[in-house]
């Protein structure tokens, strides 16, 4: 029973961070209609920003406030200079924007590899390995802090989307681009802001993960995969779905690691992906209609 509860706790804590990654992805998906295959690589950049600041003695949770604006800027630039111009280019190949994000992801990974080499770096803080106990269940201090910060960001994101003008414009663009244009929404600018926001959210996840993970250039790929699994699981473009998707994936991974084998951690996500495509194409969005 203890093992079960322990696994449950680990899964939920990890799931909170995955939700943050998934929300960023699903925002971009909703507004742009594309899957951003550079998502994990953007997170990797944020982790390296955290790592560099850590070398300068800054706490990872404070470097959040550098990594997020930094990645917001990078996201805006990518959208403005690399993705939006593609809308004007005439081509017979569909999905060339998705392909572009793959290229961007490769460039980001390799540029980071040039600067920092392929070595595993760690951002070890006083609380990286600290734990506390509730009953017989141990909680990682770093993961618990990260979990609550992730929840705070998620709630803030919802308020932003529901209450503010820009948030409403983002939702309007996601629902119907043409109608949004007619209502006076500058959709070009909204796409730029959205990509920036998505990047900033995944940057937050990166900074929060840095104390408990290793940092290395190739970490982006697996997280891009997780991000799209979460998005498919939650339903394309659904923010609530992304939270459920993130927690589900976190739980599945930790239960898989405990009860099946650590080796299969990477396959479990893919298996879920296939099962969702088979039995629930459209994801949780189909069930909740949100």
């Amino acid at each position: 029973m203890d093992v079960f509860l322990q696994t449950l706790v680990a899964g939920v804590l990890k799931g909170g961070l995955y939700a943050l990654i998934g929300i960023g992805m699903t925002l971009i998906m909703g507004v742009m209609g594309i899957i951003n295959l550079a998502h994990g690589q953007l997170m990797m950049v944020a982790m390296y920003i955290t790592y560099v600041l850590h070398l300068a003695g800054v706490d990872p949770y404070i470097s959040l406030f550098v990594a997020m604006p930094g990645l917001f800027l990078i996201g805006c630039l990518i959208q403005h200079y690399l993705l939006n111009p593609l809308l004007k280019v005439e081509t017979i190949l569909p999905e060339n924007q998705v392909l572009m994000t793959v290229g961007i992801g490769m460039v980001l990974t390799e540029v980071v590899r040039f600067i920092f080499k392929s070595d595993y770096k760690s951002v070890s803080t006083g609380y990286s390995n600290a734990t506390f106990f509730l009953g017989d269940i141990s909680f990682s201090v770093a993961l618990v802090i990260s979990f609550f910060i992730a929840i705070a960001f998620t709630v803030a994101m919802f308020f932003f989307l529901i209450k503010t003008d820009i948030g409403r414009s983002i939702r309007a663009t996601a629902q119907d681009k043409d109608a949004a244009v007619l209502m006076g929404v500058n959709t070009g600018r909204i796409t730029i802001v959205t990509f920036g926001l998505g990047s900033a959210l995944v940057a937050a996840a990166g900074s929060l993960l840095a104390p408990v993970f290793y940092v290395f250039p190739d970490i982006g790929g697996p997280f891009t995969a997780r991000a799209f699994i979460i998005t498919i699981l939650g339903g394309l473009g659904s923010t609530v779905g992304a939270i459920f998707g993130g927690v589900t994936l976190g739980l599945a991974e930790s239960f898989g690691a405990t009860y099946i084998s650590m080796d299969y951690e990477n396959i479990i996500g893919m298996t879920i992906f296939v099962l969702v495509l088979l039995f629930l194409p459209g994801g949780f969005k189909r069930l909740t209609k949100v």
Binding site: T91, I92, L93, N96, V98, G103, M106, E110, I229, P281
Partner: protein, 334 residues
């Protein structure tokens, strides 16, 4: 006959190539080039003609390679049997995914192929008893000379291009294009879009798998990270397709030639140019640059993806009129 003249001349020139050039290095590059013609043409059929972009060609490539490798590893059969069955194994791997994903619109197929490749890569690494795990599979090459491999590769490249050209100029080819252009219109005309997408995928997976078997036979060694590589196989296949020209018959051949050259440029540090410069000038900076460039081929690929999509979205063959007019305008201006 006249419109086939140029391809026939090229084919004849390629057939005569080993008689003229005996250097193994160039033969090796030509074999890789021909193998990429097969993969590029196959990717072009499913992505360029049918509009279903595959991000995981390595899944089919690796299946074909492992089919050949496992035959000789477990059953002590010749790995050449892989050429016969490797394609069908790749089809068997790809079909279930296509069957699920082609019912849905959107990015599902692209993501599913990406996921399929990851699953296969991890599975091949985990199932050590069956696939040898990360140690990979090593077989003894049948021939010492590269010439027989060259002719096998040439035959496969020619067969794949002819079969794909034949199918895109037959009825299914027009159905493929109609699905790419407007799936709703295609359906309303009574085209079974699901069936034709599956057909397109089957042909593409088949040829990619055959290319994988050829790779196993030629290289004599595979491991999961080599044949299921996202960058070196899947992205390379996409680049071969889009650099040459999406939705054109000869595009992949042009793209394969350029991409194999580019790959080799990076791998060899611009054919040893920088190494030579480093030795000639004796400067440490140039020498370290040579090392950097040798390790930068993935970066080069990434930049190439970005630039090609921005500047030449339809590839060299597809955008040929644009390129030509750009150059001729320069001439007039000069």
């Amino acid at each position: 006959m006249k419109k086939n003249l140029v391809p026939l001349i090229v084919l004849a020139a390629l057939a005569a190539f080993p008689l003229v050039v005996e250097h193994n290095y160039y033969l090796h590059l030509m074999i890789l080039f021909l193998m990429w013609v097969v993969i590029g043409s196959a990717w072009n059929l499913i992505a360029g003609y049918t509009g279903q972009v595959s991000f995981g060609d390595a899944a089919f490539f690796g299946s074909g390679a492992y089919a050949a490798g496992l035959l000789s590893h477990h059953l002590q059969l010749s790995a050449w049997w892989g050429l016969a069955i490797g394609g069908f194994v790749a089809v068997a791997v790809g079909m279930p995914f296509g069957w699920i994903c082609f019912r849905m619109r959107g990015a599902y197929f692209a993501l599913a192929t990406l996921a399929l490749n990851e699953v296969l890569r991890h599975s091949a690494a985990i199932a050590e008893g069956f696939t040898g795990g990360m140690v990979g599979i090593l077989i003894m090459p049948t021939f010492v000379s590269k010439v027989p491999y060259y002719y096998v590769a040439l035959a496969l490249a020619a067969a794949s291009m002819i079969s794909i050209q034949w199918i895109v100029h037959a009825k299914p080819g027009y159905y493929f294009v109609s699905i790419r252009e407007d799936q709703d219109a295609a359906e309303s005309l009574g085209i079974d879009t699901h069936y034709y997408k599956m057909l397109s995928l089957a042909i593409a997976a088949f040829w990619t798998g055959v290319a994988g078997s050829l790779y196993m036979n030629y290289m004599g060694f595979i491991d999961p990270d080599v044949v299921f590589s996202l960058h070196d196989i899947s992205i390379m296949a996409i680049l071969v397709g889009i650099v040459g020209g999406v939705g054109t018959v000869y595009g992949p051949a042009v793209g394969a030639f350029i991409m194999v050259t580019v790959q080799e440029l990076f791998r060899s540090g611009f054919f040893g140019l920088f190494e030579y410069l480093g030795r000639a000038t004796g400067s440490a900076a140039v020498e370290s640059m040579a090392k950097t460039i040798t390790g930068a081929h993935v970066l080069g690929f990434g930049i190439l993806v970005v630039v090609v999509i921005l500047v030449l979205p339809n590839g060299i063959v597809g955008d040929w009129p644009k390129i030509r007019s750009a150059f001729s305008r320069n001439k007039i201006a000069a």
